[in-house]
């Protein structure tokens, strides 16, 4: 009767915020359109209705001022609050880049460890037919910045547990959510998988830096995040038909990164495909690939493969966009490539 029901990512995030705001008075949300009565609860309804419980004092609606949103969150964090700021699309992080890169990420270091910045910055990523200025997956920019942690949940359980961990963390955490994974109703999102999960009633966190193995397999490891996890799972299903066992690993946070989980998987499979929606050139997959070749080359049966967006901005046209974002079919064919490319001779 009282069976727990599966929930969406959006709901999981909202629950995490609600619980953390109840638990800790210092948690305050800062962003555009996040707590307007009759409004949407942010661009993707994650904070929908929260102003009824917490008021506009703790659900702070801002002008369109991404730099001030992040800057104010930094200051509030230093001054004793635990702000959860957000930008409506991750593309707008570039408007706040100085605050993020030069201030949030560096103040702790350059002050000699004098202060803490317990700040969470939420930002939706991914292409969903909005074109070049609303469809980027810019996670690699932040992956390259010392001083920021990066969380990127692929499902409701992780979304809730990681957001709680991020709020309780004393360093700035960039929290990336994928637009096609929110599970929003309304107009169909053609490429959106349906991702709901039952999550525990009890308080829990997913510690930053711990990977999730979505599927075990002995033949090849696919490392991916966000939407790509679900495409990898689809690909794994397809390949299972051919007797190929795919292991799907989601690091869940890019910084810190769970190297132990990846190493263990490589011991088993010896083959690695990295998939991300951010551009392939200079993407975080390149770092993983380079590090694996340099440090775990002895485990590899074939060179690491990477599949990611081409080096062009996100196009508006849906067929072009479909060609821009990696697909399950491409994952399948790239896995075949990985399997075909044995290091079968001495180099």
């Amino acid at each position: 009767m009282n069976q727990p029901r599966p929930i969406t990512v959006a709901r999981a995030l909202r629950d995490a915020l609600t619980e953390e705001m109840r638990r800790d008075e210092r948690v305050v949300c800062i962003g555009e359109d996040i707590g307007i009565p009759g409004g949407w609860g942010g661009a993707f309804s994650v904070t929908w209705g929260l102003e009824r419980e917490f008021g506009q004092g703790r659900m702070r609606n801002t002008p369109i001022s991404e730099a001030a949103i992040v800057g104010a969150a930094i200051g509030a964090a230093i001054g004793g609050m635990r702000p959860v700021a957000d930008v409506q699309y991750s593309d707008f992080l570039f408007c706040a880049m100085d605050q993020l890169v030069n201030q949030a990420a560096k103040l702790c270091y350059m002050s000699g460890g004098q202060l803490r910045i317990p700040l969470v910055l939420r930002a939706p990523v991914g292409s969903n037919t909005r074109g070049a200025q609303h469809g980027q997956c810019p996670e690699t920019h932040f992956f390259h910045i010392p001083g920021l942690k990066i969380a990127c949940p692929a499902g409701p359980y992780d979304a809730k547990g990681l957001l709680k961990a991020a709020i309780r963390d004393d360093s700035p955490v960039l929290f990336l959510e994928h637009k096609l994974l929110y599970g929003a109703k309304g107009r169909t999102q053609p490429r959106a998988p349906s991702v709901t999960e039952v999550v525990p009633k009890e308080d829990y966190i997913v510690p930053l830096g711990t990977a999730r193995i979505w599927r075990e397999g002995a033949d090849v490891t696919v490392l991916g995040t966000l939407l790509m996890v679900h495409l990898a799972l689809q690909a794994a299903d397809i390949l299972a038909g051919d007797g190929i066992e795919v292991e799907v690993i989601d690091p869940r946070t890019l910084i810190p990164f769970d190297w132990e989980a990846l190493e263990e998987s490589l011991h088993k499979t010896g083959r690695l495909l990295i998939v991300h929606e951010d551009h392939r050139r200079g993407g975080w997959g390149a770092e993983i690939a380079a590090t694996v070749h340099a440090e775990f080359g002895h485990l590899l049966k074939a060179p690491v493969q990477r599949l990611a967006a081409p080096f062009v901005p996100p196009p508006f046209s849906p067929p072009l966009e479909a060609a821009f974002v990696p697909s399950a079919d491409q994952i399948v064919s790239t896995i075949h490539k990985t399997l075909a490319k044995d290091y079968d001779e001495c180099q």
Partner: protein, 341 residues
């Protein structure tokens, strides 16, 4: 000034507003029916601003626009077919299907492809105006933006620079009372956008944006000032969008009384009434205009629906300007149009 407008010009203003209204109404139906990809930000209710401002511009003058770009595109003279095809993401669209609703534009017709980062176009408009000042041209740049833009750093830096260099740019704020769901007074410490101009020593006015002839007059003054080299001006138009912010927004954060009040000031109804009172339009003529406009819109949408999607190879095109002197951008292992064909 209104009294001196030539009759056919006053009719033109009417017809242009109607073209935008009918086009956007139609587009919205199609969008709701799932025929259009992406999202749409419409401007029903705000037509007087786009039309009244652009009425005074030459083809060689520039405009810049925002996420809410349909009305500006039509008013600046981009053919409806090109606009519709772009909304349908077709190769025949003004951006060849790579821009979409938020990036309409045709530089040859004087419209920079719209920029959907709020206020992102303001510094760029400043630069366009700088180029014209330096090239000794008398072209003017009009920069459209919403009330939400004035909170951004980009607005401030752009407006300040325009003032410092006395550039031929007109800052046109369409204050439609809301930025997405956020009412203007919740995020502005001053009651008018025009007040902000004091920080830059830029002359500014606040004007009724629901009446196309006064809209046009205020724009005319600002534009000719700029054209003469007298520097930038800010014109704030008070207006209202009838529709939701985008897509399926149902405006629950507004109230009906407010919507009714603004609806009573509808710019198209007002201009029609004015023309009728002046004896410039009778029922028959009005019906004919409506029929012509409906036919044009119909044609544009038929065209767009029948048009082709971009070729797959378009994915890789136009990252860089064509015909470069240096080496092409090539990366081993990266897919490109050529490899995949």
């Amino acid at each position: 000034m209104t009294d001196t407008l030539p009759d056919n010009h006053r009719l033109h203003l009417y017809r242009e507003m109607l073209r935008i209204r009918v086009f956007e109404d139609h587009i919205f139906e199609l969008f709701e029916a799932g025929r259009l990809p992406g999202t749409v930000h419409q401007s029903q209710g705000q037509e007087a601003v786009a039309v009244g401002v652009c009425a005074h511009l030459e083809k060689g003058d520039f405009i810049t626009s925002t996420h809410r770009s349909h009305g500006h595109a039509v008013a600046k003279g981009i053919p409806l077919r090109e606009v519709a095809a772009e909304l349908y993401a077709k190769a025949a669209g003004c951006c060849h299907g790579k821009g979409g609703s938020m990036h309409l534009g045709n530089l040859a017709l004087g419209m920079l492809p719209a920029i959907a980062i709020v206020a992102g176009s303001i510094p760029i408009a400043t630069g366009l105006a700088l180029s014209q000042q330096m090239l000794g041209s008398d072209r003017v740049t009009v920069c459209f933006f919403g009330d939400g833009a004035v909170g951004t750093g980009a607005f401030h830096e752009g407006a300040n620079l325009a003032a410092v260099w006395q550039l031929p740019v007109v800052l046109v704020c369409e204050n439609n009372q809301y930025a997405a769901s956020t009412p203007f007074d919740l995020t502005s410490p001053v009651p008018n956008v025009a007040t902000r101009a004091q920080a830059y020593g830029i002359p500014a006015v606040t004007v009724d944006g629901m009446d196309v002839e006064p809209v046009r007059d205020a724009a005319a003054e600002a534009i000719s000032r700029a054209r003469k080299g007298a520097g930038p001006m800010l014109v704030e138009y008070e207006t209202f969008r009838y529709c939701g912010h985008s897509r399926s927004d149902r405006n629950k954060y507004r109230n009906e009384e407010e919507e009714r009040r603004w609806g009573e000031r509808d710019p198209i109804v007002r201009q029609q009434r004015r023309l009728q009172e002046a004896g410039l339009l009778d029922d028959e003529a009005a019906a004919q205009i409506r029929a012509e406009v409906a036919a044009e819109v119909e044609d544009a949408i038929d065209f767009a629906q029948a048009a082709e999607a971009p070729l797959p190879v378009a994915l890789w095109a136009d990252v860089f300007a064509p015909g470069e002197a240096g080496m092409p951008d090539y990366w081993p292992g990266e897919e490109t149009g050529e490899v995949s064909q």
